[in-house]
């Protein structure tokens, strides 16, 4: 396990991580929030099962609102519900929400400071066979540029559950990004999670990989491989893309002097760009970006696509070696 930070209480053996889709954490948390607070309501656009909102619907049918295939209406409806004291969670695929209702997110929700939580499901290239139209690769870029909006990319189902619970208990608009596929569950109940606080999952002094979502796992695998070559890699789980934990990121840059960012998203405008915006103004160091390189996706199996589009631990290893060259 190398230098995994013991305070993070990650699973013992990364290679034995159990595969669970992160959206399961969302579904579970929504039920829990429903129990805790009667003002929690869930809206969905004809995707109740796959977004996992169905679990809430089963428990609280009177607080589940089926909107039909109408994402724009859903977002502004939620703003109206929040005006009346409800805590609405709106769910759809990220390509549709916030993809299709960005204006409603901007004006009805964020500018109006409506207490609406947005679940973007099936984000990233790993959606697979559905192809480019359904692969949200721009959602982080279009959400993190809106004032008042918090943007969170949970690493796995356990963290997804914690993130959703916290989102429900903090006032203000929040975007939560989830994938479709089973992803390795590497965090545990005891793993710390606070919105806005990046966590150092692995200690190292030569280079730091700042990742979010499923790519945190790939980053940890890459770090293990690189250890064999005596490269000591720090790994940060940067789950909150906005507001960024500047302090932790700047400290990592100071300590390692070289950064690789990794995300299942366009490298233009995504989490890596956000990191670069902070470091370039505070402590400039060389950075390499792992992610989708300014192109649309396509149909294929998730693993095939992640490989083709350069989002694997191998790609991270290459980026680490490249950035270490720049550091010299």
């Amino acid at each position: 396990m190398g230098k995994i930070n013991p305070e993070m209480f990650l699973i013992e053996n990364l290679k034995e991580a159990k595969g669970i889709p992160s959206r399961d954490g969302y579904g579970k948390a929504l039920v829990e929030l429903g129990k805790r607070n009667e003002n929690v309501v869930a809206l969905c656009c004809d995707l109740t099962d796959s977004t996992r909102v169905g679990w809430f619907k089963e428990k609280f049918p009177e607080r589940f609102i089926e909107v039909g295939v109408a994402e724009q209406n859903m977002m502004s409806l939620a703003a109206g519900l929040s005006d009346m004291g409800k805590i609405p969670f709106v769910s759809s695929y990220a390509v549709f929400s916030p993809g299709r209702n960005w204006d409603q997110l901007r004006v009805s929700v964020c500018y109006s400071e409506a207490n609406v939580k947005i679940q973007g499901a099936h984000a990233g290239i790993s959606v697979g066979p559905d192809g480019a139209t359904h692969q949200a690769l721009e959602d982080i870029a279009i959400t993190r540029c809106i004032p008042n909006l918090t943007v969170i990319v949970p690493v796995d189902a356990v963290e997804g559950e914690k993130a959703t619970i916290q989102a429900g208990e903090i006032k203000g608009p929040m975007y939560l990004r989830f994938g479709r596929e089973k992803v390795p569950t590497i965090t545990t109940e005891r793993t710390p999670f606070t919105i806005g606080k990046a966590e150092v999952f692995r200690e190292g002094k030569d280079v730091c990989i700042i990742a979010c979502g499923v790519m945190v796992y790939d980053a940890l695998l890459a770090a293990e491989e690189l250890e064999k070559e005596d490269i000591e890699v720090m790994v940060i789980n940067n789950h909150t893309v906005k507001p960024l934990d500047k302090k932790t990121l700047i400290e990592a840059a100071k300590k390692t002097g070289a950064i690789v960012t990794a995300e299942e998203h366009q490298v233009f405008g995504g989490m890596g760009s956000a990191v670069a915006e902070v470091l370039s103004q505070n402590y400039p160091v060389p950075i390499k970006f792992v992610g989708i390189k300014d192109r649309f996706g396509e149909s294929g199996q998730p693993e095939e696509l992640l490989k083709k589009f350069g989002c694997t631990s191998k790609d991270i290893i290459k980026a680490v070696k490249d950035v270490l060259e720049m550091k010299k």
């Binding site: 109408a70 209406n73 009346m84």
Partner: protein, 282 residues
């Protein structure tokens, strides 16, 4: 607040609102004249008769909600609010200026009494529908009034909201369409035909009321009828004359998004003063 029931009084209030609108827009040197003037009678009737509200307690939970979906006619809302005592009349002169609570398009957080942010068309109706649904869920006996422009319903979002409102039998939702037949590029029926608008709403399972939106008596009766409808949302198609009260603006789409200059404002105010005299003599 005390409701005004005298038709003459409501007409005079509408005329005061029109004068405020002209003065505000002339001072701001930009803004939407025609729709604001056209809806003055509607705003007079709403703020001084129909709405259960309290200008001194804008957060009163049992208040009726007034959602303005086509935010660009906000000058008429600001004027009606000031006349109703929400804030001092002199603040109307700050419209569209730096630091003003009276933003060019209304912002819910800036001015108490503004229920919703609006600008991009078609969103307010969904917000209103969400409020109406929440009121039903909580068994609150309030009405939600949503004012919309006719050009606004070129957008697709309102039709999503109309379907949703009908599905959920939101009879606490009263939509009013300002049917003035103008939008920025010209006549609504040339830009994107809406007629037969009443049949469209009937097909969407709304209760439809049509009336003259510049006739105070018809408006009072129409809102009374709307409040009594059960099991369906209501739409009031209010036929109005854009620019109403100012002869050189009436019916002209070029006044949709334009403010009067100094001379035009003086002329408009003269005409409105004449109308005031006539109402008083009635």
């Amino acid at each position: 607040m005390q409701k005004i029931t005298e038709i003459k009084e409501l007409k005079l209030k509408a005329n005061d609102i029109r004068k405020d609108v002209i003065e505000m827009l002339a001072e701001a040197k930009s803004g939407h004249s025609a729709g604001s003037l056209g809806m003055a009678d509607i705003f007079s009737v709403l703020y001084f008769n129909v709405l259960n509200h309290d200008p001194k307690n804008t957060k009163w939970k049992e208040r009726d909600r007034l959602i303005l979906s086509h935010g660009h006619v906000c000058p008429v809302r600001y004027a009606a609010m000031a006349e109703a005592g929400f804030f001092p009349l002199k603040e109307l002169k700050t419209l569209r200026k730096l630091g003003s609570r009276l933003q060019g398009h209304p912002h819910n957080l800036d001015l108490p009494g503004i229920e919703n942010t609006a600008g991009p068309l078609g969103q307010g109706i969904s917000v209103a529908t969400g409020i109406a649904l929440a009121a039903k869920m909580d068994k609150k006996d309030i009405k939600v009034y949503c004012l919309m422009g006719d050009g606004e319903i070129n957008e697709g979002q309102p039709w999503e909201a109309f379907m949703f409102g009908a599905k959920n039998k939101l009879d606490n939702l009263i939509v009013l369409i300002d049917r003035n037949f103008i939008q920025i590029d010209g006549n609504t029926e040339e830009i994107m035909p809406l007629d037969p608008l009443n049949k469209k709403f009937e097909a969407f399972n709304f209760h439809v009321i049509e009336l003259n939106g510049n006739d105070v008596k018809e408006l009072l009766e129409g809102f009374e009828k709307a409040k009594r409808v059960q099991g369906k949302p209501v739409v009031i198609i209010a036929n109005t004359v854009p620019g109403k009260g100012v002869s050189f603006m009436e019916g002209k789409s070029e006044w949709h998004g334009k403010a009067p200059n100094k001379e035009e404002a003086v002329k408009a105010l003269e005409e409105l003063n004449e109308i005031e005299k006539k109402i008083k003599e009635e």
